[in-house]
Symmetry: C3
Subunit: 347 residues, 3 copies
């Protein structure tokens, strides 16, 4: 896309300061060329302005005089994201329902939905307008998919999965596989507990590549509106996640957890089953959560503890070998005083 | 499915107490309506019986008088699982071999097997009767799949993978990818060690979504009969897992481990290569195992230690900053007594 | 393949000692039969030579007299890998471009490339000679794939992904999915930051099953030449990995990390965002890295610390409950001496 800075300024609703020119892309302050637009979020990057070749920079008022052309913004990160939107055409140049897809005659695909070649849409499935289903996707029977969703390649939705509107699912993700549940057989062995519930994903959710969200045993596993889940995350059966949560890569959430809204879980954290996590709680990376977490609490470590305590533990961990030595020295010093360790107990 | 309670009681072999009626589904005590059946596993849920609207409840003798209709059971969890079986039709309404699948002319697909549209079955592959291969699956050349297996969508079986009977593989799982093995080249760099072994999965195994099980370098990686593996698990090349193991989500097992039967590994545990784990051992969540584990042992922590010790460690971890303070105080107190820390060593 | 030992010796450039015979496969010293070749890497396995039935053994000079036939090698592991190469035909018996693949008319597939049935190659994509694309793969628009690459089944390359030559990608891997980036909206909520960069994979890289490598927000995520990545690994947006790294299963690398060459990361390690790791550094299993690592450093633990300190910590962890007891005893002993803990502070 080729566009004049002045036209861009108008589309973004930002004042243009400096030279108008044609631009055709975006870049960092270091990499952008004269036909590209960059941005700066704060004073700590100001030194980069000296040498940037960017044709224009989205920036606060204070930086406007230091560049050839500035798009003045109160929130450069946000406005740069909006700019990227303009320069990022949606992936997959295809529209309509391909004859090389398999769309079951009993599926209902809305006008304006896209089904790529080599995708599968099963009987009874509903696909809303504006929704795009890439190659290799499987939409099981009786799934209901809202409008303007994207299922990138090789996504699997098992039967009866429900997606709201504007849900984006990255490649290889699996929604609605059976939960992991067995019941012991009296004579030995065990039986699989059929998992007859579903997965319900609310509006504006994004789900990462190769993430797995299991269907409930009964009822439903829920991902709340606006929640964003990164890659390779496991959400087990019967979990209910609230709205606007942020779940970073490789987190694992065991069965029947209840997670409030605006909860953040950093990478590789693990949550045991049946745990309740309050609104706005933050679970640090690599944290192991075994018990409920209060709203707003910030936790880290194994077991999860208050984040301040955890950070002190982190700084102390390398000193633990030395602590053992210090205790040994104390024991010897006490012994030298005639007070053998353990003696205290007898007094 | 609509069925009379009396008919259901007969099919499950359970005495019916109370009012016969038509039922058509299942639910929890909280959610079930008058045409649904629920269950109760023990006295701690008894309060829920007061308000349940369930049309019938599978329960022990003692609760029978507290509900409209009871199916008397010595093992309500097991009988409810059997009931779910009746109410859960298999996923994927399709049978036969689709003309829109790719089935190589040299593959042998048994009468009564199902190959969905968009599945691939390679040359020399054998598919047993009653086995169902969903869209997007890849069955490599010379694979052997027994009877009544299910390969859910987008499962990959690389060449020569062997599955027993009644194996269920969830979407996106990969069996038989190359093990991770290289040999250093004298002048620098390295060569890939070709992985010419296979994966063998015995009867009644279940494998979770996006789980990866690598083929052996030579010989075979084995998953023992009845073992259940959850989602996003890694089993590296040459591992041999025994029968009836339970491997929870995101566990990683490095190469050439030997795991006995009835072993449990909880979520996100990691096992180093060449470790032997005895029958009936239990590895706790987030545990890091570096050395062999005796049969029946229960281990937790990094490094894996006796579970009792580990649980004490868990409870002590938040108190470690305080321990450092206490040791510092002891050192000062001793110094005040004229016994400087370290003095003990000289006496 | 049936071949005479003498012919094999010539192809590998190794002297043959002992009886010539026909061989047709490979095995371990324990498993190999008279028509199979095995190997021995060192004296610690010498006892196995007594009972081996192998038709020939690749071994050092010193072991030559102890077997029927020996292929004398200065580096038996390397020569055995070369031998395996001879006995391991490439997977997937297919060549050419299948009519049952979907190859967009604007894609450019080189002569000598293979596109299996049920693969998808999008508009503007380039596929080099000798490259093989298995069923279920998705090659997005404008991808560029070099020569002699292998994309095993169900691999997804999102738009504009670039692969060098001889890149091997195992089943279910996802390259070029969106990075995980959002910007808060002033009134609440957040916007997705479009991820307009790409993934660039250099020559001779191997990427494991169900591994995910996200596209950059701007510019590129890079996997350096010769780097090997195992299964279920997460590489977030804007990471730059150097040449010849080894990244073991289930590692997670957060956004914008810079990793030098010859770096090793063991299983389940986690690297926080914006961390720089120097050439030749080694990150142990289950390690949590929060800060930069110097070249050649060897780190373990959470937080990552010097490996020696970490190993001492590992050995001390089971003794921590006892340490608490010892400190309590010391406190009592001191109290018995009239020096109450804490007293030191007042002197």
């Amino acid at each position: 896309m080729q566009i004049a800075l002045s036209a861009l300024a108008e589309r973004l609703g930002l004042p243009l300061r400096g030279t108008d020119r044609q631009v055709s892309g975006v870049g960092t302050l270091e990499s952008a060329g004269p036909d590209e637009v960059s941005f700066i979020t704060g004073a700590k990057y100001a030194a980069l302005l000296e040498n940037t070749r960017a044709g224009a920079v989205i920036c606060a008022e204070e930086f406007a005089d230091r560049v050839d052309a500035a798009l003045i913004s109160a929130n450069p990160a946000l406005d740069f994201a909006r700019l990227l939107e303009l320069f990022s055409p949606p992936q997959g140049r295809f529209s309509g329902v391909s004859e090389r897809a398999f769309v079951h005659p009993e599926a209902r695909v809305a006008e304006g939905a896209t089904v790529f070649p080599l995708a599968y849409v099963g009987p009874g499935a509903e696909v809303g307008p504006g929704t795009r289903i890439f190659p290799g996707c499987y939409v099981g029977e009786d799934c209901r998919i809202g409008s303007d969703c994207v299922l990138y390649p090789n996504v699997t939705l098992m039967a009866r999965t429900v997606l709201g509107d504007r849900v984006m699912i990255h490649p290889g993700a699996v929604l609605g596989a059976d939960g992991f549940g067995y019941v012991p057989r009296p004579g030995g062995g065990r039986d699989k507990i059929p998992q007859v519930g579903v997965v319900v994903v609310e509006d504006d959710v994004e789900i990462g590549a190769c993430t797995t969200i299991d269907r409930a045993m009964l009822e439903k596993t829920v991902i709340g509106a606006g929640t964003k889940i990164d890659n390779l995350v496991q959400v087990a059966h019967n979990c209910v996640l609230g709205a606007n949560c942020t779940i970073v890569a490789q987190v694992g959430i065991a069965g029947s957890c209840t997670v409030g809204r605006d909860v953040i879980m950093a990478g590789q954290a693990g949550i045991a089953d049946h745990v309740n996590i309050g609104d706005g709680a933050v679970v640090g990376p690599l944290t192991g959560v075994r018990t409920d977490i209060a709203p707003g609490a910030r936790m880290g470590g194994i077991p999860a503890m208050d984040y301040g305590t955890y950070m002190r533990n982190l700084s102390l961990a390398p000193k633990i070998p030395d602590l053992f030595k210090r205790v040994k020295q104390l024991e010897k010093a006490l012994a030298a005083l005639g007070a053998a360790p353990g003696q205290g107990e007898r007094t």
